[in-house]
Every structure is written in C-alpha cells, then in structure tokens.
C-alpha cells in the first residue's frame, strides 16, 4: 500500500449535488483528494432526502442513496442565501484546486461564483460546471434528472420493447454514465495544470456527453437517414441474443438468463449443452421457443456455469441481491463495507477498475451534514474561534 495517494494534496470544493457531480468527486476522493462537500440544511442536497433510509426513517443523515456516492469526503454546512454565505464559500475556494458544481447556470452567476469570479481568488483554478444542457444556449436554464436526461440524449429511444413506448432504463442512467466523461476531463485539466501551471474552465453539458453512448444511432441517421429502433434485449445482427426465463429459485419465479449466440460454433456448443443435436440453424424460426421451453426447466446459475464451460456467452440476469454474493465481484472487492455513525455498517461501491500501483481506497463512510465544519472553517479557512461561533450563531452554517 502506497502512502502517496494519486490526488494527495489536491483539494476540491464540491458544490454539486444528486448524482453526476458527487460521483465525479467520489472518484477524486477515493483516490486521495481532499473533497469538501458544501451543503445546507436550508435547501438540502436532494439525495439526503431520498430513500432508502435505514429503518425506513427519513433523515438527512440516514439515506443510503446519498451515502453510496459520497465515500471518503468531508462535508461542511453553509447557507449560500445567508448574507455571509457567499463570502465564506469564496474563502473555501481560495484554498482549493478544483471547484465542481451541477446547478443550472443561474445559481453560480447569482452568487458571483462563476469561473471568471473565482479565478480572481484562485488564478490556477480548475472549475467544472455540469448542468444538464451546458452553460450556454436556449435550454441552458432547464433542469432535470438522469431519468429524464437519458430520454433527452436519445438513449430511451433505444431502450424499449419493440414497437412500444420508450421506457428507458429503470435507473437515472446518465447519472452513471456522464461522470466518467466529466472525471476524465477534470483529470486531463489537472494534468495540464501540473505541466503548465495553467487552470481552466470546463463547460460540461451532460446531454452532449450522453449522446456519445448511443453507439451508431447518430451516424445511421446522418449517413443512411435511418432512425434506429429499440429491440428489447435483442441485437440487430444476431437472432439468438436475449433473456430467457429459468426455473424458479425457491418461491422466486423471476429468474432469467442472458444467452447470446453469435457464431455457428457457439450454436453447436449450445446444442450440446441442451442435448439438442437438431439445433443447427441460427435462422430457425422455432429455435427461440425451443430455447425458452428448455431454460424454463433449468436453474439459472447452473445453466450459466454449463454454458460458459462450453464457450457460450451466457450470464444470469443478476439482481442486487445476486451482485452482493457474486464471486467475481467479491474476488475484485467491488463492495466496501464502511461504518457510518447513524447508518451503521453498510456496503459502498468502489471504482470498477483495479490500479496495480495506486488502487482506490474508500477511507470513510459518507459525511454527516456539517460533520467537518469546525476543522474546515478553522484549520483550512482560518477562522478564529470567535469568528466561527459568530457565524454559527448567525445561521451562516445552517
């Protein structure tokens, strides 16, 4: 274990909320950056009010949704509507290398905390703004969530049963897509600053990044004039490419396996596992039904093992419960168990890659709202005891 973490010495003022911004700063925090979340109880970070709550008891320090995205971070409370709020925020920024935010553009403008404003305090600042639709343009003031943005970016159009309404993924999908782009841009800017001393501003329109996740949808339209359509679980080039229901596990009848056959060799292997020598043509109309009849009698996990042993790409449609006991994810140590003062011993996601020399380390559970007020305001910002108490009493830290 190295003591010199990748982002050691890099301090981040994190004004972002919900999914995208916190996941960007989570990457930085889990690799050693000192991330200070700036939140308020007056207008709380929405995820602190979103379930699941421990014991089903709503509370700003009790949301598992918030917790998972905010490992390894500090948190101060600061009311930016308070007369001293913005002044204090700027004093935090003065000591930071990176500012992240995900409001609609009017918020930072109203507070006098645009990149241009903050550069006066910190000339080599790297700032990333991550509104849905970017900092400029006719829709720049529109807000939204990842559920909606997947639709706006064209992903929902491609996520549906054939010829049915575009339901999209069941998750706020772009929240778990665009942070990878944004983080890569921030680190690239950090690398540039390391080499040249020059900071910069990043205008990150979430929709513009998310459109890159539509594969060939754009070129098929611009080149061939064709609007690609959703195919359920299917694939445009492969007939045997889908999810099939398996035998019940206990009283759980919702067990499914993904099986994909993209070559005649794989079809032969499938036929051998199924003991169906007649399965010889990928274009046979009845083949899908025969596979369905067969998988209905099979246990999903057992079938996956046998198909993979025979070289057929197949995998259980794993539920969250399955993921927690998945031997491969366990081997890689995906889930980190961390102790939280009010939520107890809980699982957190670590990054999905393994760095051989400087692996991620989730150093602590999510912060309580305002947990680090005293240390940040006194030790980093430099407030005296007297000034700290004055702001506390005046409500600046609400």
């Amino acid at each position: 274990m190295t003591t010199d973490k990748v982002f050691q010495g890099i301090r981040v003022a994190d004004f972002a909320w919900v999914g995208v911004g916190p996941l960007v700063s989570k990457y930085l925090a889990d690799h050693g950056a000192e991330v200070i979340r700036i939140e308020s109880s007056v207008r709380p970070e929405p995820l602190r009010r979103a379930p699941p709550f421990v014991n089903d008891e709503p509370g700003l320090d009790n949301s598992g949704y918030y917790a998972d995205f905010n490992s390894s971070k500090k948190c101060v409370s600061l009311n930016l509507q308070h007369p001293d709020g913005v002044k204090i925020a700027k004093r935090i920024v003065e000591h930071c290398d990176i500012v992240t935010e995900s409001f609609t553009p009017k918020a930072m403008r109203a507070w006098g905390m645009t990149y241009e404003d903050l550069c006066e305090i910190r000339p080599d600042l790297i700032m990333i703004s991550m509104p849905m639709y970017g900092l400029t343009g006719p829709w720049s003031m529109w807000q939204g969530y990842g559920h909606v943005l997947q639709a706006a970016a064209g992903i929902s159009h491609l996520t549906a049963y054939p010829d049915e309404e575009p339901i999209g993924t069941g998750v706020a999908y772009t929240d778990f897509l665009v942070p990878h782009f944004a983080t890569s841009a921030v680190i690239a800017a950090l690398d540039h600053r390391q080499r040249t001393g020059e900071g910069q501003n990043i205008d990150f329109g979430q929709m513009e990044a998310a459109i890159h996740a539509t594969e060939t949808m754009i070129l098929d339209y611009t080149v061939n004039g064709r609007e690609q359509q959703a195919l359920g679980a299917g694939h445009p080039d492969h007939d045997i490419y889908g999810t099939w229901q398996c035998a019940a596990r206990g009283d759980d009848d919702d067990r499914w396996i993904a099986i994909t056959v993209t070559s005649n060799d794989e079809l032969a292997s499938l036929a051998e596992v199924a003991e169906q020598p007649g399965w010889t043509s990928l274009e046979s109309e009845s083949l899908k039904q025969q596979i369905a009849d067969w998988t209905r009698t099979q246990q999903a996990e057992d079938l996956m093992q046998r198909l993979q042993s025979a070289g057929v790409p197949a995998g259980v449609v794993q539920t969250p419960e399955d993921l927690r006991s998945d031997p491969q994810l366990a081997h890689r140590g995906h889930f980190w168990m961390l102790d939280h003062p009010t939520m107890g011993h809980r699982a957190y996601d670590g990054p999905s890659f393994r760095l051989s020399e400087t692996p991620a380390e989730l150093t602590k559970a999510a912060p309580l709202l305002g947990e680090d007020n005293e240390s940040v305001y006194k030790n980093i910002v430099g407030m005296s005891d007297e000034e700290y108490i004055e702001h506390l009493v005046s409500g600046a830290f609400d």
Partner: protein
C-alpha cells in the same frame, strides 16, 4: 463548424489501441482528449470493421458506421501480433507510446506478450489498460461476454424492462460503453500519478463491474431494505418504492416527466396550478388533495395505490393535449425537470445543440458527415473531432517509417511478408 487551434490536454501523448468492440470507445475518448491514438489492426482489417450498420447497407470494411463511430480521431496501422516479428515490432512501438489500451482475453494475454507483469517490467513508464468482460483475474476471468451478458451480469438488465416480461438492454451497447468510459477514468488516474513519479501501472477494467456501477440506488436499497428494485416498466422507483408513470404520450411524441411521476415531490402545488391553468387539474385543486400533496413534499417517496393512479390518469389526459415542446417548456417554467424523449432526427434538428455548435462535419472521401462533437468544453485545451477513422493500414508509413525509422523498402518488405 469551428476551427480549433489550441491542442487538447493529451496532445503530448501517444496511445496504442489494441481493442475490439468492448474497448474501442476508450481509445476514441483518449483521442478526443487530444492524444495521438494508433489503432493496431491485423493485416486485412479489424473484425469490428465488419460490424454494421454500413453506409448504404453495403457490407464493406471501409464503410462500417460502427468502425467510423468508434475510431475517428485515430490513426491506423496493421500488424500481425501472432508472428514473432510482429511482436518485436509491437514492443518497439510500445517504446514510443505512453498508453496501451487493449481488450486481449486474459488466457491469451501472456502468449501475446501482453501480460501485466511482462509489460510493467519491459515498459515501466507505460500506462497499460486492459478491458475484459470480467477482469483479468478471478473465477469468471476467462468467461465470454457480449454486451447483453455484461448488462445482465452487472445488474443493469434486472432494472430494465417491465415486471413479468423479459429483462432488456439499451439497444446501443451500454456494457461496452461503460467499460470503455470507466477504463478511461482509471487510465487518467494512472496517467496523473505518472506525472508525479514517472512510473506507469496496470489498469484492470471489468465490463461486469462497470455495469454494476450503474445500479443507481439498487444496491443500498438491497443493503438497507432487503428489496430488489426490479424492473419498473413505464414507471420509476426509488429506494424500493414504486412510482407512477414516467413517460407520457404528447400530441407529437413522448415526454419524460420528473423522476417520480411529475406530480410528486417538491413542485406538487405548482404542477396542480399548471394543470388548473389549462382547466385540467380535476379534483387535485381540492383541499383534501392539496393536503395529500403537501404531505409528500418533505420526503421524496411517491404516493401509491388509488391516489397514485388518479394522479397519473390526470397527467396522461393532460399531456395528450399538447406538443412535447410546449409541455416541457411550461414544465420547466415551474421547475419541473421534464424533458423531450428525443429520436435521432430530433437531436440533429435540435436548436439548443445547434446553438452550442455541437455537431462536427467530418470529411470522408465523398462527403462531409455530421458526427457528435466534443463531450466537454475545456476553455484552454479544447477537445476536438479532428478526422475520420482510418482505412486499413492507412498510416503504416507514418508508424513504421516516422516512428520506428524503417525505410519505404523495408516497410514494403514487411507488408510482403504479411507482418503488416
């Protein structure tokens, strides 16, 4: 189209890209960031040149839109890595490179000289990124996976589709996209560390694990409440609580409503006023309903049962009366973060993206074609879409001549021998 003069942040760096469809978007992203990316293909062309769709639906390795989408901003060189001479040349190329991104199956890596330890000892300053279905090591390391198997094993498919119907996937491959995009984050972290120490490292990316990262709140929901979120169909869910409808039919297509069904949460009163303004709020303006809606405001848990049905039915009837643009513009006025469900045609015609100069004309032999533009706007080191994907072996003379110092005759000889 704007002309960019400043270079991207990774302009000083070179990438060797040895990826198939699982990982080629990673090399693309590094190219978008300004790096010189050299795609190394077997003589005769990469397999992914044969993935459709094709221009004019003619199967041709130079006309694959899949190839074009994922390999623009890259140069192309051919090399037969199954030959000893090919491996020698590859090792020489690695000496000239800062990054290697590859999708070699774990059980074949050592034989091709792509073992993590081997690369680290021979090229200690290289950042070496492996993208594989399940990771380089572990019980499933040598299992095979297509995109659907990745989205299934990573948990996303269990959250996609409708109850009682088969789990689905986005028809645009998200397992591959997530594996590639998250690999770039790991690659950039390793790169930043190298700027401090001069030492590279191995980045081991798993597609399954990348997909697991997309579960939203499903893992804490299982961890805390013991509930599998499951497939919501045309609805949403949060923390194991089901919401009402999510996508609504407008007069000219679909809109996506605020994540909990549109009438719940923080803007319930404003939403009722909005419907009432159009004379379509039904009973929702009653004191009884207002009290119920106010009660949902402290916590983002949607109402269920008959009340939820009534809210949805009211919205369904309302949305059908208006165009998508009108609905979303008015919803945004009251801070409801609704959006339009865009088709590809909608996106290309979108005034906002046009205003932001998003689309880029890329020159091909016969035509200029519109591509999605940069995915971030960096003020000092802009990202760019500089050129189309390479033809087979298009940059062999640059790669083997300029970088490795071979003469034209020597390059021709390598070609005649089938090495390149």
């Amino acid at each position: 189209m704007t002309t960019q003069t400043a270079a991207g942040p990774l302009a000083p760096f070179r990438v060797l890209d040895l990826t198939n469809e699982l990982g080629q978007f990673a090399g693309r992203m590094l190219g978008d960031l300004g790096a010189e990316v050299i795609k190394v293909e077997p003589p005769g062309g990469d397999e992914s040149r044969f993935i459709g769709p094709f221009r004019g639906d003619v199967v041709d390795p130079e006309q694959s839109l899949h190839w074009w989408t994922f390999n623009n901003n890259k140069l192309g060189a051919t090399l037969d890595l199954t030959t000893l001479r090919g491996q020698e040349l590859f090792s020489q190329l690695l000496e000239q490179a800062d990054f290697l991104v590859e999708t070699c199956p774990p059980d074949a890596a050592a034989a091709l000289g792509l073992g993590a330890e081997n690369i680290r000892s021979e090229h200690p300053s290289l950042v070496h990124t492996s993208i594989t279905p399940f990771g380089r090591e572990g019980p499933y390391a040598n299992w095979k996976a297509t995109d659907l198997v990745g989205t299934a094993m990573g948990g996303l498919s269990s959250l996609c589709g409708a109850p009682g119907r088969p789990p689905i996937r986005p028809t645009a491959s998200q397992g591959y996209t997530q594996a590639s995009a998250q690999a770039v984050v790991g690659t950039m972290i390793a790169h930043f560390q190298r700027t401090k120490t001069g030492r590279g490292q191995h980045v081991d990316q798993s597609m399954q694990e990348a997909v697991t990262f997309t579960h939203d709140n499903a893992m804490p929901t299982w961890d805390i409440r013991g509930i599998n979120n499951g497939r919501p169909g045309n609805g949403r869910q949060i923390g194991g609580y089901k919401s009402g409808q999510y996508v609504y039919e407008a007069a000219d297509g679909y809109v996506a409503a605020l994540s909990y069904g549109g009438l719940f949460g923080l803007t319930a009163r404003q939403t009722v006023e909005w419907l009432d303004h159009h004379g379509m709020a039904g009973d929702l303006t009653s004191d009884e309903w207002m009290a119920k809606l106010d009660a949902t405001q402290g916590v983002l848990i949607p109402p269920a049962g008959e009340d939820g049905d009534y809210l949805n039915d009211t919205l369904v009837a309302f949305c059908k009366q208006f165009t998508r643009s009108q609905l979303v513009a008015e919803a945004q006025q009251i801070r409801n973060g609704w959006g339009i469900v865009h088709t590809p045609g909608d996106l290309l015609e979108n005034e906002h993206l046009a205003d932001r100069d998003y689309w880029v004309d890329v020159q091909h032999q016969e035509a200029h074609l519109s591509y999605p533009g940069p995915w971030a706007k960096l003020s000092k080191t802009p990202l760019s879409v500089r050129h189309r994907a390479p033809h087979i072996g298009e940059h062999n003379f640059y790669v083997y001549g300029n970088l490795l110092g071979f003469s034209d005759d020597e390059i021709m000889a390598l070609s005649d021998d089938g090495v390149i």
